[in-house]
Symmetry: C2
Subunit: 141 residues, 2 copies
């Protein structure tokens, strides 16, 4: 099996379709000059940006507001050694517009954690890459 047989690059629409069905993704950022990653639930907004709902006082909000981050989701079958992974790279911003915040409170992601107050974080899908792995896993090539 050649590498070309094992990997197939996914186009933006395929990536977004896969992201839309993933319940959990991982925010990749830098914290205190070290690489950091945090799994979170999310939803996709109508403009294909990634929406997170968290606490306004969270370490995550402090670390990623107005910073370029990566957001990854994947699904693998360890037996078949197949699956897919998608990475969105873009600027994360806390939603501050009251009308937008109200809209997301109705239509955006719900935190899987009880929150006294909710902050919505938007990650712009400036760069969306993904690949499908057919009978091989994503060791880097």
């Amino acid at each position: 099996m050649s590498l070309n047989d094992a990997f197939r690059a996914l186009d933006r629409q395929e990536c977004l379709r896969l992201l839309a069905k993933a319940p959990v993704g991982r925010v990749v950022y830098t914290r205190q000059a070290l690489p950091a990653v945090l799994p979170v639930n999310f939803s996709l907004d109508t403009d294909a940006s990634v929406l997170l709902c968290t606490s306004p006082g969270s370490d995550l909000v402090a670390a990623i507001d107005d910073v370029v981050v990566a957001f990854e989701a994947d699904e693998f079958d360890a037996v078949a050694r197949s699956g897919w992974s998608v990475v969105v790279t873009g600027r994360a911003t806390v939603v501050t517009d009251p009308a937008e915040h109200e809209r997301l409170a109705r239509t955006g992601p719900r935190s899987w954690m009880p929150l006294h107050d909710a902050a919505f974080v938007r990650i712009e899908s400036e760069m969306v890459t993904g690949r499908e792995l057919r009978g091989a896993l994503g060791v880097a090539h």
Copy 2:
């Protein structure tokens, strides 16, 4: 449900036990000054370092050799909103010692991809953190 009820910090041994049963993790690093993440299969060495097997010429090797990276694995139940996540943070180094390379060729991780030549990357488990989520997902607090 309070946050304390929802989250439980995992000690190093619990983290390593969970990592040992995870088939896939995600290397978190920086590529061209941007946050990057790549899912890979892996194994744990006897010293609890994370071992990857990839191609010597891979972009991943070029990006992470002798660099501090994070390595994350998780497992969530989207219905129960429960699960766990573990993050190992430490220096990644390509194994260059011939005897060590030979040992890992016998006992280390096998690439899920056919490789003409295998490079082993070791991520030292300098910092190991994890948490168990009971009825809540890892939105940041």
